[in-house]
């Protein structure tokens, strides 16, 4: 299996005044292509710092991080920006869509920063990504005309449009009700089934049942790394939910 992410003894220290805070105290793991990994931990466990590091938004103080075979630690800010643009798709808790902008234009955004993609190809890929998340009929809807679930689907389409090596989801269901959360999970499982690599950071322990692997953090250490052999189907869980209950 191709290694997408390789962390070797990653440490990240922050200086807060006189003190040094150790957010990550030596983290090592490898994520291969096609895995659906949930990363869990209570607040303060270092999961945000780990996510920032994985997303190339931050660089570790020490240790080696290889993303798709490329060493990230020594990269400059602009180099990391280009790397994010080509290799990573972000999905955020609060969607982070551009206001007053249509779904297609929102999805086009990452490709706007990639000059090798022409305008026509950009639009085609954005439409394809929106169709694949089930929003083929809402291409021209503006972000303020959509529900939370729809906005998150647009955000997922935006994460897919650059065909990234890994999709990083940060509490992607955190702002959604139970039913919509499951709908989004169904979508993630579908992407997983299509062979995409997904890292889902959450504090909700239930979600571990739907991923293929679960990593737990505490105080900057990995305390548990288990492969889930009995992956539950989110679609079944969704069907089992009482209808018209939460909507």
């Amino acid at each position: 299996m191709k290694k997408i992410i390789e962390l070797q003894n990653i440490k990240r220290n922050f200086r807060v005044g006189e003190e040094t805070v150790h957010a990550l105290r030596g983290i090592s793991f490898t994520i291969c292509e096609g895995e659906f990994v949930t990363i869990m931990g209570t607040s303060g466990s270092g999961k945000s710092t780990l996510l920032n590091t994985l997303g190339c938004l931050d660089t570790p103080t020490s240790g080696e991080y290889l993303l798709d075979g490329v060493s990230v630690r020594t990269m400059s800010k602009p180099q990391r920006a280009i790397l994010r643009n080509r290799k990573i798709g972000f999905v955020f808790q609060n969607y982070n869509l551009l206001p007053k902008t249509t779904a297609v234009e929102n999805v086009e955004l990452p490709l706007m920063y990639n000059s090798s993609v022409s305008a026509t190809e950009r639009r085609k890929r954005a439409i394809d990504a929106l169709i694949s998340v089930g929003l083929g009929d809402r291409l021209e809807h503006k972000s303020n005309q959509m529900s939370g679930g729809q906005m998150q689907r647009v955000a997922i389409a935006r994460a897919l449009v650059n065909n990234p090596a890994v999709i990083l989801a940060d509490e992607a269901t955190g702002n959604l009700d139970t039913r919509t959360s499951f709908e989004i999970l169904v979508l993630f499982q579908k992407l997983h089934a299509e062979g995409r690599t997904i890292i889902f950071v959450t504090h909700n322990p239930e979600l571990a049942q739907y991923s293929s692997r679960n990593i737990r953090l505490r105080d900057g250490h990995v305390i548990e790394d288990t492969v889930n052999t009995h992956i539950l189907s989110a679609a079944e869980a969704l069907a089992a939910l009482p209808k018209n209950d939460e909507d």
Partner: protein
């Protein structure tokens, strides 16, 4: 990063905030429009003064005898007898920078024609005088070289003289008018020129051959002055130098002596008046320029607020792969787009306002192309200058903080 994409990104961002973009533009619009209108008014008045000056004559050079001290008393220059007819003849022969030269002797007195009379003066000049003063004969013709040679008793008169001496509207050509008992036949009437910028009536003239005035009217051998016309405006200075050296030689002045004549040029007059109008133009442009700067500060203000307001958006753009330089360019392009669009609208309004001033207030207005270019360049520079700081601030944001900014 490709420029077209950045341009599209900036355009979309502006389109999302049309009202804000327009309000930001307003400062630039007013600034540019007022710069153009003010410069147009300033240039217009300058031009109208220049036109009036050039109507007085073409590249005119006026030579007068200099005032001299006699026994400690400064004499009236018109009483000086130092400028002679020979001086005129020498200048006429030797000067290379002149397109025309004419002596000037004038005799004032009461003009009489039939039962009408009018106080005026007769100027004794050569034929070149018409070109030097930009006069033209409307009716009849100018007196000839032959008239000058024979000191013929002929004259050409201006419209004011015609109106006063021939109030019944009869044709003055061929009529005889008398000046100091000397009868002179009218051979031509000058085209009317009206009043000049000094308030002098340019039609109150009687032109006669200088020989006639010198020999028959005044019986004098010296000249009141010499009028000349330089070939071009730029050659005025060379012409003045040439005249000076010839006259000094003719008057046998030693190197240490002061000139015993004075030379004034039309250029001096126009540069003096230009100084005044230039001062006014600069003043107006400064006031308008201040409003342009205030407009620029408006851009900076709004852009600055907009960076804070759009922190999350900037964080998102960075997380999907925008580099700092992309963010910087986006905000700079937004600022420049605002100022250029404002500039275009400002140019249109400024030109419109200028034409309105022209048609309603009847002020002389002239829009110089460079003033449009200048204000346009200034507002683009304003956009870059005042857009830079907020854009830099946006580019320096940390994506981690920006994306989670509330």
């Amino acid at each position: 990063m490709n420029g077209t994409n950045l341009f599209k990104i900036a355009l979309r961002a502006l389109a999302n905030n049309k009202l804000r973009a327009f309000l930001t533009m307003l400062g630039i619009i007013i600034g540019v429009a007022s710069v153009i209108a003010m410069l147009a008014i300033g240039q217009g008045s300058k031009r109208s003064i220049q036109q009036q000056i050039s109507e007085m004559g073409s590249n005119m050079i006026m030579i007068h005898p200099g005032a001299e001290m006699r026994g400690g008393v400064r004499q009236d220059p018109s009483a000086m007898q130092t400028l002679k007819l020979e001086n005129y003849e020498k200048l006429s022969e030797e000067c290379t920078y002149l397109s025309g030269i004419s002596p000037n002797v004038s005799s004032s007195g009461q003009l009489v024609a039939g039962s009408n009379n009018y106080p005026s003066s007769v100027s004794g000049v050569s034929i070149d005088y018409l070109n030097i003063r930009q006069l033209s004969v409307e009716q009849g013709e100018m007196f000839s070289e032959n008239d000058i040679r024979t000191a013929a008793k002929v004259c050409v008169i201006g419209k004011t003289i015609v109106d006063n001496l021939f109030p019944d509207g009869s044709d003055p050509i061929g009529k005889v008018i008398r000046c100091n008992q000397i009868p002179m036949r009218v051979v031509g009437v000058l085209k009317s020129k009206g009043y000049n910028s000094m308030g002098q009536d340019q039609d109150d003239v009687v032109l006669a051959p200088y020989t006639t005035v010198m020999k028959r009217l005044l019986a004098q051998t010296y000249l009141g002055g010499i009028f000349a016309s330089a070939l071009t405006e730029d050659m005025t200075e060379e012409a003045v130098e040439e005249i000076t050296s010839i006259l000094r030689r003719e008057h046998k002045l030693k190197a240490t002596d002061d000139d015993d004549f004075t030379i004034r040029t039309q250029q001096e007059l126009s540069s003096m008046l230009n100084t005044t109008t230039d001062l006014m133009t600069t003043l107006l442009a400064c006031i308008a320029g201040i409003s342009l700067v205030v407009g620029g500060i408006g851009i900076m203000n709004i852009m600055y607020v907009s960076v804070t307001e759009r922190t999350r958006e900037i964080g998102l753009r960075m997380s999907v792969g925008a580099r700092g330089v992309d963010i910087l360019s986006q905000f700079l392009i937004e600022a420049i787009l605002i100022s250029i669009t404002g500039g275009v609208i400002g140019v249109i309004i400024g030109c419109g306002a200028s034409f309105m001033i022209k048609s309603i207030a009847h002020w002389p207005v002239f829009i110089q192309p460079w003033s449009v270019l200048l204000s346009f360049a200034v507002c683009t520079i304003t956009g870059v200058f005042f857009g830079w700081y907020p854009a830099k601030k946006a580019a320096d944001l940390d994506p981690i903080d920006a994306i989670r900014y509330e």
